[in-house]
């Protein structure tokens, strides 16, 4: 029997497959398609202190092998999430990771504190890499000192494991990863989207109302693999790897690079059943390559 289990700070995972933040709502829609209990965990949509309406539409554009999104962190605010979304998630035997965003350090701290107070939330994911908001977001993820300060403050207040979600839009991702490691992060999520743009030839304007958007999907996979590979060598934190994963073979590549678990984002839009299908296929792919467990494959490319 192939062992798909993996333990990460705060997260006892049945398997390493986790829908990525923003691509899975709060689970309700996908629960109509399949049993969420199959998943390793779920990452819910970014929460901010107040409700946010997000960016104007169009918010979605397609590129070759990828998509651009500029949702802009639309969410009903942390209180509504705690009152209306989390209770629904209690019915599942499923660790929930809460993705946290904000304009200021204080906002991150406050949102984290409140979410950490919920039973179903097993870990926090600090989104310091959202490219689609004016303030906060990526600004926190591109400077090592700011990222470290934010991490330290949230750690102090939250009392639950903190994963920091890194932005790929940086010169040196290892530097940021090291900074948040020193500041006390329990794990890393990487990567968020690459900042991109499309122009409409007819109107001459950007396809997205917001101008720029975040590039995700298979197009960015080689960048994700490279960054995880680099960070794994230099930083001693478990990594939830993501960026373009489409199938169980892609998952194996991420494990090889150094990820301990994986996030699945855009692929849910291509095939809404992709997560359970990957979970179904993963034992076979591991076995085919001579592994008996997830654990054995993690960081294999570094041996």
């Amino acid at each position: 029997m192939i062992d798909l289990r993996i333990d990460l700070p705060g997260l006892k995972l049945k398997n390493p497959v986790i829908p990525a933040s923003g691509c899975f709502g709060f689970g309700e829609e996908f629960a109509e398609l399949y049993d969420l209990n199959q998943l390793g965990a779920i990452t819910i949509k970014a929460a901010t202190l107040e409700p946010r309406i997000g960016n104007p539409t169009p918010r979605i554009a397609e590129t070759y092998g990828g998509i651009l999104n500029a949702i802009g962190l639309q969410n009903p605010g942390v209180e509504v999430i705690i009152k209306e979304k989390l209770p629904w998630l209690e019915q599942f035997d499923l660790p929930v990771i809460a993705n946290v965003a904000g304009d200021t350090v204080d906002e991150y701290v406050e949102v984290s504190r409140r979410l950490a107070g919920s039973e179903v939330i097993k870990a926090l994911e600090l989104n310091i890499s959202c490219p689609n908001v004016q303030k906060g977001g990526m600004a926190f993820g591109t400077d090592p000192d700011t990222a470290a300060e934010l991490t330290a403050e949230v750690k102090k207040a939250a009392g639950k494991p903190v994963y920091v979600k890194l932005s790929p839009n940086v010169t040196d991702i290892v530097k940021i990863a090291r900074a948040v490691e020193e500041a006390g992060a329990d794990g890393l999520s990487m990567i968020n989207t690459l900042l991109g743009m499309r122009l409409d030839l007819r109107s001459g304007k950007t396809v997205l109302a917001n101008g720029t958007g975040g590039l995700s999907g298979p197009a960015i996979k080689p960048v994700a693999i490279r960054m995880i590979y680099q960070v794994y060598r230099e930083v001693n934190l478990p990594i939830i790897g993501m960026g373009g994963i489409q199938d169980a073979r892609d998952v194996l590549e991420f494990l090889y690079a150094g990820a301990s678990a994986v996030g699945i984002g855009t692929a849910n839009f291509i095939n809404p059943y992709v997560c359970p299908e990957i979970i179904r296929d993963l034992p076979g792919v591991l076995a085919e390559h001579g592994f008996n467990s997830i654990q054995e494959a993690i960081g294999y490319a570094h041996r």
């Binding site: 829609e29 996908f30 398609l33 539409t57 998509i67 949702i71 197009a219």
Partner: protein
């Protein structure tokens, strides 16, 4: 039971320049409940990632077949135009909320207003309303004579009036002008077409008439999970409605366009 299925292409045929009629067969056809729902079609090749949404145009339950009509718009629909009978397409659906037939009471008259490629979802609706014994009037607007399609088909189930912008076929003008000119009377309206048309319909009939309109927006997930396709909720905080989930069909005054 999966909502995605590799369906068989039964037919893919050009109806008018750049307008194709595509018939698919699959088990999930029996899940298709309402006119106005849509399917999300996966495309293979050329770096396509997102599925393409198309309205269900006709449901043939006994044959497990349904139809979409699409216009070649960009690379994806260009690719779709090249698909041939015998190939398979992965279809995700039915998705979304369709046109409520039950809003129409016995003896009432329905006005169906279609603009260009907004016409297809009204076809299944026309058939159903007609089968319920209601009187159905269809007003369709197109750019020009070349763009006209499905006049004959609609006339099986309804009284049809056609307008073209350049007057090369039928009435010269837009659908609203035509409706006014004809002095059409109706109890409820169902509309699908360009945003400008829907906005004009809201303005003209929003106060006095019941009605339903079908919107389009760029989509990623198609099921309400990504918040890509939001639209404004009338009179409330914006972006609270998802076209793919709470729509694509909304009450006439439910959304602000």
């Amino acid at each position: 039971m999966k909502l995605t299925e590799d369906m068989l292409v039964i037919k893919n045929q050009e109806l008018a320049p750049g307008i194709y009629e595509l018939v698919l067969r699959g088990e999930n056809v029996r899940l298709m409940k309402e006119a106005g729902q849509f399917v999300n079609v996966q495309l293979e090749g050329k770096g396509f990632i997102l599925r393409r949404p198309f309205s269900i145009c006709e449901i043939n339950s006994p044959e497990k077949e349904f139809k979409i009509i699409f216009r070649v718009q960009g690379e994806g629909t260009e690719h779709l135009a090249g698909i041939e009978a015998g190939e398979r397409l992965n279809i995700f659906g039915p998705l979304g909320k369709g046109f409520p037939e039950s809003a129409l009471a016995e003896g009432e008259t329905a006005l169906l207003i279609g603009g260009g490629i907004g016409t297809p979802p009204l076809y299944e609706l026309a058939r159903r309303l007609h089968d319920r014994g209601n009187r159905v009037i269809t007003v369709l607007g197109f750019q020009d004579r070349d763009g006209v399609f499905y006049e004959e088909e609609f006339s099986r189930y309804s009284e049809v009036h056609i307008a073209t912008m350049d007057g090369s076929y039928g009435y010269k003008g837009n659908v609203l002008e035509l409706i006014e000119d004809l002095g059409l009377d109706f109890d409820i309206l169902y509309a699908c077409g360009p945003m400008a048309m829907l906005k004009a319909i809201q303005e003209a009939y929003g106060k006095d008439k019941r009605g339903y309109i079908s919107l389009e927006e760029r989509m990623a997930c198609g099921i309400g999970a990504c918040y890509g396709c939001v639209c404004d909720k009338e009179g409330d905080s914006p972006y609270q409605k998802r076209v793919c989930k709470e729509g694509p069909v909304f009450g006439l005054n439910e959304v602000s366009i």
